[in-house]
Amino acid sequence: MNTKTEENLDEFEKQLASLPILEPSENYGKISAIITEHKTKPWLPQWKLVTAGTLTCLVAAFVIVNLITSFSSRSSTAGSEEIQPANPSRGVAEVANAPNLDVQPTAPYVLGTHYMQLSTPVPAENPDIVEVVAFFWYPCNPCYQFDGLLANWETENLATVELTQIPAIWSGRMRFHARAYYTAETLGILNRAHDRFYQAMQEQGQTLEDELSLIRFFSELGISASEFLAAFNSDVTLDKLQLAEQANQDYQIQATPTLYVAGRFGITATTAGGFQEMLKVADYLIDTP
């Protein structure tokens, strides 16, 4: 009797064992590759990375200034390309009323000096509102300083301006950070992640330059490794990244932070004379037809 029961149990066991279980997803196996890459990559020391990032920003800014200078002198010679302010009184009035000004109240903002103009404007998606595009990079300290001012400025101009932030991309590192940015957007946590990205890179010395670091970073925001990897490798994220790369090309981005107003006018801290001034020039350009 016992033998028969055992045989029946064996048969039952075989029946259950024949049931197929859900196999793990594609992302499951990637964890070892990610760890391998992370552990074997010869990372530069942190101070070298920060120095390299700062130098990149400075060199890019220097190149921009030189380009503007040469462009400005060519424009003056030709006498036709420089755009004068259409309504200089607004800029003057605002400057006069604003506290703690560093700029001359009477100085109009001049093309080639305070801002530049794209030779091929980027078409606006919504003609009813002024589009402002801000290009940034998380390891860029000036971008971090500018970000808070920009957020306040956006709040004050919600009714008239549509601000879009786009990660600057002119290197592999920047492309990776841009992908992290759009991963956060795909996951619906960009508002929380944006500040945390800056804090991690600017205050905690993290580089976030590999998937393992990002898995840890996103886990602190309540996103599991699987959820992160699914979003990081999703078509939605990669499509956004591709659009960002195209925007970087269209706007010819070479320095951060850079603002573009109405798809035409580019402003950097170097051209405007500071972060607050970038926003004042933007205000002025927004009122320029």
Partner: protein, 163 residues
């Protein structure tokens, strides 16, 4: 032993046992993505260790188990009466298997949690009683007992249902 060798062993262990690790977690979470998360969290946590555990393989499996237990406490996706169909691939089942899977669904959760875990690990990942004993920090005899009693109860319940 250096941290580099720990890392190499960890990657090697993961590659060799990734399905078993997954099923070990699945036995607890009963849900694919949570099981994957538990394994990945465990591997990440161990990759950060400064010292090499005495028995890395056992440590890895136990960590996966702990992460899976943590996962079901944290996750709202898990319910006490989670059905077994969430880890049975019914798309690849025959008609008879679908019936059996639904019965398993209904009755597995009525067993003691140790019995449930042992049955899933033994049936679907081929763990030995010794291996399960290491993971659950029990004796092989206890594990074997959980398994046989659980399987017997399951069979009785399913046959009652069929009758």
């Amino acid at each position: 032993m250096s941290s580099q060798s720990l890392f190499e062993q960890l990657v090697c262990l993961f590659e060799t046992h990734k399905r078993q690790l997954y099923v070990a977690a699945l036995a607890i979470t009963r849900e694919r993505s949570s099981a994957e998360d538990a394994v990945q969290d465990a591997v990440l946590a161990i990759s950060e260790l400064k010292t090499n555990p005495l028995d890395l393989k056992a440590y890895l499996f136990r960590t996966v188990r702990n992460k899976a237990l943590h996962c079901i406490k944290q996750s709202q996706r898990f319910k006490a009466d989670t059905d077994a169909s969430s880890f049975i691939d019914t798309n690849n089942c025959s008609a008879e298997q679908i019936v059996l899977a639904s019965q398993l669904t209904e009755h597995l959760s009525t067993l003691d949690s140790n019995q449930q875990q042992v049955i899933i690990m033994k049936l679907f990942a081929g763990f030995t009683f010794q291996q399960i004993a290491t993971i659950t920090e029990s004796s092989p005899n206890t594990v074997a007992s959980w398994y046989r009693r659980g399987l017997k109860q399951l069979k009785e319940k399913i046959h009652e249902y069929q009758d």
